[in-house]
């Protein structure tokens, strides 16, 4: 399937796309995702502070920051808003705990299915840019075993319903 010396396939670095149905109206869905991010994001395992007591401040405007505030007050910027259009969509750079210069990009769109149901589509992109930056200076062969790994990792995770 994958050539030993080939770079990752386009598919392997394609944007992550997640589609989800939320059982609440669109304005509430948008608000829960943004303003209430600390209420659902897995902070204990995925944050700079490593604390479930951290909060997330979401400045809802273009150039506003998404900031983790640790219990001791330490702040870490996770991203900067690039597009703000409540309750339809927003987009942001995304670099929790890492260098803003190499941020990936997150776009989330909310569509009303009916008055109490919202469809959310999340697109997390920028992987191919990272891949290109690495390939430019890197010439070691591709490991066929690891190349097959993403599919095997996928098999161990329950799919989003």
């Amino acid at each position: 399937m994958t050539d030993h010396d080939a770079p990752p396939s386009q598919e392997a670095l394609a944007p992550i796309v997640k589609t989800l149905v939320l059982r609440c109206r669109r304005e509430l869905a948008f608000s829960l995702f943004t303003t209430s991010m600390a209420d659902w994001w897995p902070l204990a395992s995925h944050s700079v502070s490593g604390s479930s007591a951290a909060t997330i401040r979401f400045a809802g405007r273009v150039d506003g920051n998404i900031t983790e505030v640790a219990p001791d007050g330490t702040e870490s910027v996770w991203g900067t808003v690039t597009h703000w259009d409540p309750p339809a969509a927003f987009a942001t750079t995304w670099h929790p705990g890492t260098d803003p210069a190499t941020a990936t990009h997150l776009r989330v769109e909310f569509t009303a299915v009916d008055e109490t149901t919202t469809e959310l589509v999340l697109t997390h992109s920028g992987w191919e840019t990272r891949g290109d930056a690495m390939r430019a200076g890197y010439h070691v062969g591709w490991d066929a075993v690891l190349a097959g790994m993403p599919h095997q990792l996928g098999a161990t995770r329950p799919p989003i319903s």
Binding site: P7, P8, A12, L13, I16, K18, L20, V21, L22, R23, C24, R25, L28, A29, L32, F33, S36, D39, W40, W41, P42, S45, H46, S47, G50, G97, T98, D99, A101, T102, T116, T118, L120, L122, H124, W127, R130, G131, A133, M134, R135, G137, Y138, V140, W142, D143, V145, L146, A147, M149, P150, Q152, L153, G154, T156, R157, P158, P159, I160
Partner: protein, 122 residues
């Protein structure tokens, strides 16, 4: 094969190690570069780099007088896949929260529409 997958999951499962790995995917780094970026000691950085190397996510080479670590092409795909799983987890939590919030929101809307508070004498 199973050992390889476990090694990658272990490697990316530690928050600091994951952040070190992400810094390396941005550009190749030396141990000194990484110790300056993160609030941990050089031996701790070296330990993380050893685990990342064993998992096949990074390789090292001599660049003049420096010894630098760079991400393998496989590594970006692995990081992307790890992030994919993270979004699945996080969005499922959002869905649960939205369900509860939706019920409360719905009840409040019905109360307003009915024009009288719940439990009022009829």
């Amino acid at each position: 094969m199973t050992e390889t997958i476990d090694a990658v999951l272990d490697a990316l499962g530690d928050a600091t190690r994951r952040r070190i790995y992400e810094a390396i995917t941005a550009q190749e780094r030396s141990v000194g570069d990484l110790a300056a970026l993160f609030p941990i000691s050089r031996p701790a950085v070296s330990r993380h780099l050893r685990l990342l190397t064993e998992a096949g996510l990074v390789v090292h080479r001599a660049a003049g007088t420096r010894h630098v670590y760079s991400a393998t092409p496989t590594g970006v795909a692995a990081l992307r896949h790890y992030t994919d799983d993270l979004w699945t987890l996080a969005l499922n939590r959002l869905a649960t929260l939205a369900e509860a919030a939706g019920v409360i929101d719905q009840a409040a809307a019905e109360t307003v529409a009915a024009g009288r508070p719940r439990g009022a004498d009829r």
